[in-house]
């Protein structure tokens, strides 16, 4: 493979990506693109990120050999990249710090963001508290119900959480409202988008700030074993933790890349969030990407037990990696994810987020399939504290999905 340099200058990954936004936002998009190009040349900017990542977030995160899980699976060695140990409990803080520092450089004092599970909202509110920025978070009314604790966290951190009741009242609709808010307040507000979705340059910026996950994994693994893992596995909603894990491995063709979507109640039912497996290309929230949609181009609601995967699209770069066959995409049902949630808790003493449980569930299958002597790394993108109530309700027989 020749050097991988995407996105191109116009923000496209092959046919995917681009910047499909109302003209009102174009000035801000151009300004953000220029500001990002400028900080790329600025070692002080990265020194600041590195300082906060180390002393505030707690990086680097461990690469942990999950021996009990490996023995249970009876196949390949399974390693966990412990993004769950980050401050605020998930990988989302990596991007929030980078973008908030960028906003400060751009002279913007107000931050708007969307959140699904609340992890990106909490990460954003946290960084805004740290950097003294005004923070407004849009969150679907359904998600507010499912993730009440995270709502309280954001409020404690000084953010204003706005309930979104339009559409399916989940992440997709929160993005709509955050975009509308940005359209109306674009001059003094930065939209701190939380995934590798949205108009260019967001998919690139978020990927770059998240790629610390893959970079560390590569170094840690190589330092220990003088080789690279045979496969990496990550869950995918919009796809930010997966892109952060995959990106440093794209040119390492011997490393297989696996993305795991939410199959909800099953991909043969209408209740899933498997955009790459069951969707087709279309335009939403600023990008051309794989989308769950009907034949008339109306966006369909996604369903997953995990609020963070409950999004009907998947970032343009994943759409491209699927198209060229560089990454493989599979799906895991609610039930399989819930089983993995309990299994990892019991076997390793690590309670994973329901999102990350999808990656764990797939890793078990993959470990058996590729067999011993192989090594695979799972991106454990977040911790499960936020999900404990919902899982308890579900195990008692209630249906939370």
């Amino acid at each position: 493979m020749t050097a991988y340099t995407l996105p191109n200058e116009t923000g496209h990954f092959g046919m995917f990506g681009g910047k499909f936004v109302p003209e009102t936002l174009m000035k801000a998009i151009i300004e953000l693109t220029d500001a990002y190009e400028a900080v790329k040349q600025d070692p002080e900017f990265y020194a600041e990120i590195k300082h906060l990542s180390k002393d505030y977030v707690g990086r680097e995160t461990p690469l942990y050999f999950a021996e009990n899980l490996t023995n249970y699976a009876g196949g390949a060695n399974i390693f966990l990249k412990r993004e769950d140990l980050n401050h605020t409990g998930a990988h989302k803080i990596n991007n929030a710090i980078g973008q908030a520092l960028l906003a400060v450089r751009m002279g913007k004092k107000k931050i708007v963001a969307e959140t699904g599970a609340g992890q990106h909202g909490v990460a954003t509110a946290t960084v805004c508290a740290l950097l003294n920025l005004d923070c407004i978070i849009f969150m679907g009314a359904e998600d507010i119900k499912r993730q009440a604790l995270n709502v309280f966290r954001m409020e404690l951190l000084g953010a204003k959480v706005v309930s979104v009741t339009s559409g399916s009242a989940t992440l997709k609709d929160a993005v709509n409202e955050a975009l509308r808010y940005w359209v109306a307040n674009v001059e003094d507000t930065h939209y701190l988008l939380g995934s590798v979705t949205g108009p260019h340059p967001f998919p690139m910026i978020v990927r770059d700030f998240q790629s610390v996950i893959g970079k560390e994994t590569k170094e840690q693994f190589f330092t220990r074993y003088k080789t690279l893992p045979d496969a990496v596995v990550a869950c995918i909603g919009g796809g930010s933790n997966a892109m952060g894990m995959f990106y440093p491995f794209i040119e390492e063709k011997k490393v297989a890349l696996y993305g795991v979507e939410a199959a909800g109640k099953g991909i043969e039912t209408p209740y899933h969030a498997a955009s790459l497996t069951k969707g087709k290309p279309g335009v939403l929230h600023g990008a051309l990407m794989y989308l769950l949609q009907n034949q008339d181009g109306q966006i369909q609601e996604a369903h997953s037990v995990s609020a963070g995967l409950d999004y009907p699209g998947v970032g343009p770069e994943h759409s491209y990696l699927k198209e060229i066959g560089r990454a493989h995409y599979h799906s895991i049902t609610d039930q399989e994810a819930l089983d993995a949630f309990q299994l990892l808790s019991k076997l390793e003493g690590i309670i994973p987020a329901l999102e990350s449980s999808h990656a764990v569930a797939f890793a078990l299958k993959l470990a058996r399939q590729i067999g011993a002597s192989q090594n695979l790394v799972v991106c454990l993108s977040g911790r499960g504290d936020k999900d404990v109530d919902a899982v308890r309700a579900r195990l008692k027989g209630g249906d939370i999905g």
Binding site: T10, G18, K19, F20, V21, P22, E23, T24, L25, M26, K27, A28, S166, G167, K172, D173, N176, L179, R180, V183, A184, N185, V186, E187, P281, G282, V283, L284, H285, G286, L288, L291, Q293, Q295, D296, G297, Q298, I299
Partner: protein
Amino acid sequence: MNRIEQTFQLLKEHDTKAIVPYIMAGDGGLDCLTERLEMLEKFGAAAIEVGVPFSDPVADGPTIQAAGIRALNNGTTLKEIVAELTKARRTIKIPLIIMTYLNPVYAYGISSFVEDIQKAGVDGCIIPDMPVEEEEMIAPLLEAAGTELIRLVTLTTPLDRVKQIAAKGRGFLYTVTVKGITGTRNEFDKELLSFLQAVKEVSPIPVLAGFGISNHEQMQTITKYCDGVVIGSKIVDLLAENNFAELADLMSIFKLKSNLI
């Protein structure tokens, strides 16, 4: 000369301004679309923007969002809208302009869409989530079909960019008059009038102002600096209330009669 150019030519000859109402196709059922278009023409519309409902209309405020949901709940599809406009064209003489987000067009198939709306007698097309940077996927096809791609500029568009967009412009230049989404407003941004004036100066094609316009006073003030107004949310509300008397009154301001066209 196409129908949009003819219309602005006539308006100029009669020294009057354009009033372009927006209607959400399928709100109230697709069956009533043609009769409503006829009514708007009778009330003095210079052209009509026909909105296509979309599940995720990020540039629209609550009124048009709600109208879109009602239309989708009625089962409205772009295919049926195009079919209905083909029928409407038999009686409607003024320009018809489709306003749609990109995804319904993408799902329809871009070349089929361009071909079908041209056959239907649609004169122009507005795609609010497609800035000029991304228009290559459809602009050349529309150009070849003689269907005008209406470009937008907004208060946040720098003047040199306004010039670039206006230079590409076809039909008219749609100037978004608020910093924000669609919806009626009581006050306009102070910079608006000077911005409109600047846009008018650099634009080789007629300039229409839209977003947030809902009464005669606003229309009088704004049209001092441009060639007409687009009215969306207010009209959608009046149509939903079947308040045709107020609608006729709202549109009476430039005393444009369709027999002019």
